[in-house]
Amino acid sequence: MMNSLHCIPLRALLAFAVLGFSAPASAIDLLELPAVQSGAASRALLLDITSLGEESLAAVGTYGVIIVSGDGGSSWDQASVPASVTLTGVHFPTAEKGWAVGHDGLILHSADGGKTWQKQLDGHQLNEQIMAVAERIVEQVRGELEALQAQEDADEYDVEDAEFMLEEAEFMLEGALDDTSAGPVRPLLDVWFRNENEGFAVGSYGMLLHTINGGQDWELVSDRMDNAEAFHLNQIVPAPDGALFIAGEAGFVYRSSDGGQTWDSLEPGYEGSFYGIVVAPNGAAGYELLAYGLRGNLFSSNDRGESWNPVESGTAVTLMSGALLNDGTVYLAGQGGNIMTRPSGENAFRAANNPDRRPISGIEQLATGEVMLVGLGGVRKTDQNGEPLASANEQQ
């Protein structure tokens, strides 16, 4: 990890040389500036929260803020983080090892329960991979075309098709060049690790990253998906049967039944964005998928995403985050501080009486049953029905 950290300037220079692009270094480069230690960290705009097991929590947000709590959210310590970009997702497959992702293509890793973090990947390296993938596709298509042309009995139409494909690929390469010349601009939006070795990160413009060695190498595998329009991928969640689901922009849901090697595109029948999916138990072996998103839209599937039905969420406000609580309650929250809950065994969602109108973007349940929320204004707590509880933050 330290290794890759040292490589950054060299690699960045290389990338600029390759792209023929050399911007003067910014006076303040948030990707390079270590996060400022701040007493306001637990009041920052926080975007995701995760449990480290027991009473331990970690939450990430703007200005490179990562805060960890060992006492169920009563007190928080700010971690040492080598960058100041907005962090969007965090996940700890074990109590010690965790990963966080964020803007400028940043992936961070901690091996000490979230106290200190190191850079594993950033947008400069990601841009190289984007270019490499685009170039690889061009080469591949050109190879196919040349092979076709070499054949004496080549079908005329096949050759035309191949020529067209090459044009497309070259066009795509140009586009990639344009995009990456703006520098490391693409945000990653969520991260999930199956165990301490294998994990996925998803992000904007259809980015899907995969590692099998704890993040020492991250591979850009966006082309495993059929996402030609490069829609954003907002969240990745596992299902009890080992399937993986990704909630995406423009009403797309993606499913992998083989551990992330291949992905199917599912269309629940809605054109707005899905910000996430709650997987709720349904019967003995089955599960219900609840995809939530823009303007309170909620779609349900009981057959692994094959067919979907719209569900009344009880709100017209965008739902940004969701969680399944220990007792089977589905807990959804979003903009305007709206909290909708559906207790286990019931069909209807009901609105919690929450006077706090600040948007909520992350949910994690504590062992006590209390629910920890993060969003604008930092951390706060509710009970299982979404009724607010005084949190340590407000008591200050």
């Binding site: 303040i28 948030l30 803007h103 604008l376």
Partner: protein, 813 residues
């Protein structure tokens, strides 16, 4: 009682005086008393002219006069002032429904009417007016197709339940809850930004008239049981100050009444009482008229100077009448008595008044225009008193003179046993044991004052508009808005300067974003607001409202897009795109809070290399407060050094003895130190309003010392011992000094009831200082003389003859 041995010696002295009377008249004196009618005529003409000027004086209050324009913060602000639009100078009018929430047809209709009234007030920047009814207050939401939005009150609004429900829904999507709409939905705000100049006349906007129009057109017309109006803003503060300052005229009348009655009780002579008061009023009229002629207005700070001029006039008038009465009682005719008084008082009077004037003038070292103006007003006033009460008063008295009954009464009183005993008792301060005790006590009080005064705070300590009282209508309105809305009224603005056309770049954005984050951790900072924050929200909005996208980006296209939407609030950057104001909302404007902020900005500038992006302090009301505090805290000791330096020098010139300087200055220093301790105890901070108080106190306090010491010295020259000399001093001057102290104190004590808090503070402090100075001169001074002045020296006449002439009023001519 005339058997007292000293009296005999005195009579001899008086005989010598008489003998020298006609030989010793100066040119000035001869000129004045040979042309008495012409002098009166000249005074009459000047008075007519200056009164006609004085009645044209209007209260004014301008922003730039109240700030230290040379302070780097203010200089930086004034340089960019025109580009920092939409900062600050707006009026917020909150319309409250006392019987429920705002979603009633009646309320909405009233709001519409008031909104229209405000819109048409000249000086209101109409395009910037915001209320639920203005089309620039919009709601917006992200849908599958992108942004949609509209005016909060829809075009088809008809007051029906359905329409009101629509308004409620739109408000929820407008982001205005806490801003234009109260958190409890029982009131809404009409925001009216003001222009710099009046649109028709082109003159600077008159805040007093704006404030008055708001009162008449909004509060008087619409406020009733159901509708309550709350108004805040700089223009309202100024308007209320001007209005409150107008009430000061009433206090002035009260002060005149009290003085007149006290003077009558003191002198038992109506003629001379009225003459002294009239002369002092003429001094005030001249002072105000001269200010107008010199091009100054009367701001709420210098509005107190007329009181001071009046009080000083009376105090010197007392000395004059006192001397005339004594002269008359010794058998001189009217004209001789007046001339005698003039002759014996114009040197010490001139010394005292000139040291007052110069003492006040030292206030000019403070680079704040209102204090400058106050210094000029006070100096002009003191100079005027020289003419009216040292020249005009005895001339008038030479015609009318004091009534014979009054003189008989005075003689009876001064020869009465009670008065004699009082004076005799007061001489105990010259006894060694008492003097020692007094000096030790004074030393202890001095040390205590210094120790206690260490906690003296700089700046304003109270919430709201500290110029006004906590329970004033303005501050109640302000509290209503603070309680029911989210936005704070204390704003510190940092001006971020970028290269031209580079305010919307990653370099600028990353630096500003980091800066805002650093400031969020500063104690007392509630929130920050800037172009970058608004851009981040717009970027999130362009990404379907997802907060995960609410961040700065290197993508120039995205940045450009984020600032081009019509929901971008105005005033977040300038036209040349090289200036981005960062608004820092504070919990209060206490000096410590402001210091935290300025220190944090300085730390940021030192700690982070932001390249060409410069973070420059400061604008906004709190920025100005911070600069003012800075200037005031530096000026505090500088001013004291100047005042004491100048006064000490003048006293040294007059008495030519450093020991005398100590005798006169030390009681004043004790008063200054105890004054600071009192300010600490009362929770009054050192600010523009209270800073001049100590200088004024010293300037006027030195009079007592000069009068007492010069008289004491006269008797010492005649060979009396300290006890006897002080006894005689008390008998002749002590009464006048006590009376003066009381008159001055009462004149300023009436300010305590002023609706303007800082006038009240000034009044309280000045009352304390005048009384303390009086006691200092009467009690501590003789004790100090006991220790510091080698009395034997006087007996041996080892002092030069000029001094004697000076002190007795005999000019060598």
């Amino acid at each position: 009682m005339s058997e007292h041995p000293i009296q005999e010696g005195l009579k001899d002295a008086m005989g010598q005086w008489d003998h020298a009377f006609y030989e010793s008249e100066s040119f000035v004196e001869r000129f004045i008393y040979n042309n008495r009618l012409w002098v009166l005529l000249a005074f009459l003409l000047i008075t007519v002219y200056l009164v006609s000027a004085a009645i044209k004086v209007r209260p004014d209050a301008s922003f730039e006069k109240m700030v230290p324009i040379k302070h780097p913060y203010i200089a930086a602000y004034l340089e960019r002032k025109d580009e920092l639009t939409g900062l600050g100078n707006a009026v917020r009018i909150s319309i409250e429904n006392t019987e429920g929430d705002i979603f009633t047809e009646e309320y909405m209709e009233t709001l519409r009417q008031i909104s229209d009234e405000v819109f048409f007030i000249p000086g209101v920047q109409r395009s910037g007016v915001k209320s639920l009814w203005t089309p620039n207050v919009r709601w917006g939401e992200v849908t599958e197709e992108g942004f949609t939005g509209g005016a909060v009150v829809p075009d088809d609004y008809d007051g029906s339940e359905a329409s009101l429900a629509q308004v409620r829904a739109n408000i929820m999507k407008s982001g205005q809850v806490g801003n234009l709409v109260a958190n409890d939905f029982r009131s809404t705000i009409i925001l009216a930004p003001l222009m710099e100049t009046h649109p028709e006349t082109g003159e600077p906007l008159n805040f007093g008239s704006i404030s008055l129009q708001l009162e008449e057109l909004v509060r008087d017309q619409y406020q009733n049981d159901k509708i309550q109006v709350h108004m805040t803003g700089f223009a309202k503060v100024m308007g209320d100050l001007i209005e409150g300052a107008g009430q000061v005229a009433m206090f002035f009348l009260i002060a005149i009444g009290i003085t007149l009655s006290l003077f009558y009780i003191y002198s038992r002579c109506l003629r001379s009482s009225v003459t002294v008061v009239v002369c002092s009023v003429i001094a005030v009229a001249w002072q105000v008229g001269l200010l107008k002629v010199l091009g100054y207005g009367l701001d709420p700070y210098s509005m107190l100077i007329p009181f001071l001029v009046f009080a000083i006039g009376v105090s010197h008038g007392v000395q004059m009448i006192n001397t005339i009465m004594h002269a008359k009682s010794e058998g001189r005719d009217n004209r001789q008595a007046a001339r005698f008084a003039f002759r014996s008082l114009y040197i010490p009077g001139l010394t005292a008044l000139i040291s007052d004037g110069i003492g006040f003038a030292t206030l000019m070292v403070i680079q704040i225009q209102v204090i400058h103006d106050l210094a000029i007003a006070a100096s002009v006033g003191v100079l005027v008193v020289i003419l009216t009460n040292l020249v005009l008063l005895p001339v008038i008295m030479s015609y009318i003179c004091v009534s014979p009954i009054a003189i008989r009464r005075m003689k009876k009183f001064e020869n009465s046993g009670a008065y004699h005993h009082l004076c005799e008792f007061s001489t105990i301060y010259t006894r060694p044991a008492v003097a020692r005790t007094l000096v030790i006590l004074a030393g202890a009080a001095f040390v205590f004052g210094i120790w206690y005064g260490q906690d003296l705070k700089i700046g304003d300590l109270d919430a709201g508009a500290p110029e006004l009282r906590a329970d004033s209508r303005y501050n109640l309105d302000n509290r209503f808005i603070v309680d029911n809305y989210t936005a704070s009224t204390d704003v510190f603005v940092v001006m971020v300067q970028t290269p031209d056309m580079e305010c919307v770049t990653y370099d600028a954005y990353s630096a500003v974003d980091l800066f805002e984050w650093v400031m969020a951790d500063v104690p007392g900072v509630q929130a920050t607001f800037s172009l970058v924050g608004a851009s981040k929200r717009a970027i999130a909005g362009n990404n379907e409202g997802s907060p995960k996208w609410a961040t700065v980006t290197r993508n120039q296209w995205v940045l450009n897009g984020s600032v081009s939407g019509k929901d971008m609030p105005p005033g977040l950057m300038n036209a040349a795109c090289n200036l981005v104001p960062v608004l820092i909302f504070l919990e209060d404007h206490k000096a410590d809070t402001l210091k935290n902020v300025t220190a944090a900005v300085e730390r940021f500038n030192e700690g982070f290399d932001t390249g060409e992006i410069k973070f420059v302090m400061a604008a906004g009301n709190s920025g100005i407060d911070a600069a003012t505090n800075d200037v005031v805290s530096q000026a505090q000791y500088k001013m004291l050094a100047w005042v004491y330096g100048v006064v000490a020098l003048l006293v040294l010139l007059a008495f030519r003895s450093p020991r005398t300087v100590l005798c006169i200055i030390l009681p004043l220093a004790l008063t200054s130190v105890l004054g600071q301790a009192l300010m600490t105890y009362l929770g009054i901070g050192v600010k523009v309003a209270t800073l001049p108080v100590i200088a004024l106190g010293v300037g006027i306090g030195v009079d007592y010392g000069i009068y007492i010491f010069s008289r004491l010295e006269t008797y010492l020259y005649r060979g009396l011992n300290l006890h006897d000399a002080y006894f005689e001093t008390l008998k002749t001057t002590g009464k006048a000094v006590s009376f003066t102290g009381l008159t001055l104190a009462i004149g300023v004590a009436t300010w305590v009831w002023s609706p303007i808090k800082f006038q009240g503070d000034m009044g309280l402090m000045l009352t304390f200082m005048f009384v303390m100075n009086m006691f200092g001169a009467l009690i501590l001074l003789p004790a100090l003389v006991h220790f510091l002045i080698p009395v034997e020296k006087y007996r041996k006449h080892e002092v030069d003859a000029d001094r004697l002439a000076l002190e007795t009023g005999h000019k060598g001519a």
